[in-house]
Subunit: 380 residues, 2 copies
Amino acid sequence: MKDINILAGATSSFGELWGVSPRKLVSDVTAEALKESGIKRHEIEAIFVGNMLSSSLGSQDHLGAFFSEELGLDVPAVKIEAACASGGMAVHTACLAVLSGQYETVLVVGVEKMTDHKPEEVASALMAAGTDGEREAGATFPTLYALIARAHMAKYATTELQMAAVSVKNHFHASLNSHAQFKNPITEEMVLKSPVVASPLKILDCSPITDGAASLILSRRKSGGKNIAITASEAATDSLGLAQRESLTSLKAAAEAAKKAYRSAGILPNDINVAEVHDCFSIAEIIAMEDLSFFTKGTAAKNIASGMTRLGGKGIIVNTSGGLKAAGHPVGATGVKQVVEILQQLKGISGAKQVSGAKIGLTHNVGGSGATAVVHILKK
Amino acid sequence: MKDINILAGATSSFGELWGVSPRKLVSDVTAEALKESGIKRHEIEAIFVGNMLSSSLGSQDHLGAFFSEELGLDVPAVKIEAACASGGMAVHTACLAVLSGQYETVLVVGVEKMTDHKPEEVASALMAAGTDGEREAGATFPTLYALIARAHMAKYATTELQMAAVSVKNHFHASLNSHAQFKNPITEEMVLKSPVVASPLKILDCSPITDGAASLILSRRKSGGKNIAITASEAATDSLGLAQRESLTSLKAAAEAAKKAYRSAGILPNDINVAEVHDCFSIAEIIAMEDLSFFTKGTAAKNIASGMTRLGGKGIIVNTSGGLKAAGHPVGATGVKQVVEILQQLKGISGAKQVSGAKIGLTHNVGGSGATAVVHILKK
């Protein structure tokens, strides 16, 4: 794959943004990215919108044209949906658009407005990413990831304390991120004593319901300043439902997408300095680290708990934004925001959460309980 | 743009398919296309699903992975939504994917299941493509197109009889299409005497609510048999709402997309032999013929009424499938089915509805009341 240059990226604050509309969120993150990129608005030639829930929760479809008008762009625009991987798939599709030669410079926006609704409405809307069977059984995503956690615990002796360490690390990172939803540091004890959602997952093992938006400007042209490029953009799918999988302790789609991405970028997993992974639940980050070959199977939990992947650690530093857990998880925005976080790391503008000397970064965005996975590799 | 080869295409029957699931519809049209293409299932490298309403009416998101699993393909997959242009935009995005070089051969499926719901639920779900203001005013798409019709009548003296002629032509064409929803020929008198939906539009000026699916296999590789290629794939957007438009008598996005497509293909409008245009209402086909520069402004209605665009006519033959009006309008499938219809025309396998000597064809797919438009040009 030819490199795709990232001219700019921005995220909104993530959280309960009750006074802010999706229009305003997208308008602000686009204005910020345009300013950073130094390009003119009319140089944007197409828009790819990552969003899952605007139809079921917002009663607004046709988001491509909706934002094209709102942004005063008047260019081809489309909504990309792949459940919680909508943002990552929007980036992937935008990469294809730039590679196609039909568009030189494109805008990706990811956006979700979730907190204006009752939690049970949101849970129900999210389960549209699952199977009929899972819904009929009354499963929600915490239930499904609890099954995954139980399987991982049984096979690799992973502990609830090790899972708690994921949340503790990500809250610490979020405490350094002014845009994060939860900036409060927490302890393992707080996680273990927090209310159970779906055993063994406690509320502090779970990512929250969040409003937010993120934007990226991708181009064949190089950036005027330090050029950061996407050097691999790969996706893969697996069965929608857990019952159809061979294994619960790995997400096959994520492992596949990662393998393709390393091959495409011509690098090895350990060449990565910094990564944003899809920690929708604490167990998901542990499995992600194994699927991405950062650690061998069954060893991620103890390595994370040892502090290797925490800022200052000697391993690959993971989820400096705070991850989905603490920065928040506005579904369609998440995969876009992950790329923005890595962009800023490679530019060296991440301030207190900067990973020193970061040259190569990775993002890992997952849809549903693993039916879609998208991996991007960025380099400076 | 480099040509993109169409290895195969198929459509389901369109209509009230109460006994058939979306899974079955997509599975059948994909099997048919695979058989026709002569390629193996594992040669498909990605899937682009055109769909608008599965979230709001079907409570199923994540359709990319859903169909990837159902079809036993296990490849990157994504849902593309752009209201009633979802199918056309899925084809456009798939073209970008093939042009990108990342995927050699991809599958496009368009699908919609609409008739299992109460008409008012469907009307409400469809209005998610409009603006808040339009919804608050109680507008539905017939209302919006009635305003467009009134404006066209006022400016160009277009008559209700001329609009009726569009439906009569399309029902005649549908009578030759075994997959069409309405195969019954009708007369101008029947249209004029049919119940008023939103004056001046009568029920027989309006496209129906429909279930159906369509598929295409696109590739960099040429087909073994007669090769048909997409030689231009262009999209454009306009304001979501009518109130923000400069003119009601033309869809700016459609005119723009057409202009770009003619330039990209290096042809003139009159080089086209056969076209499928978005006749969601009879007035929409009249305006489409003008936006596509097939006729000068204000002359389409009388030319259509004269029979020029009907099978056997001396002009560009339009909507041989029966169009949205009579073949049916399963929203996400429509833009894909249009390309399949033109593919079959250029292959010369359209039987009783064959346009003799057709060499170049065009499709015109519109979202909402014109906020998105997609134009494809095919040649043999």
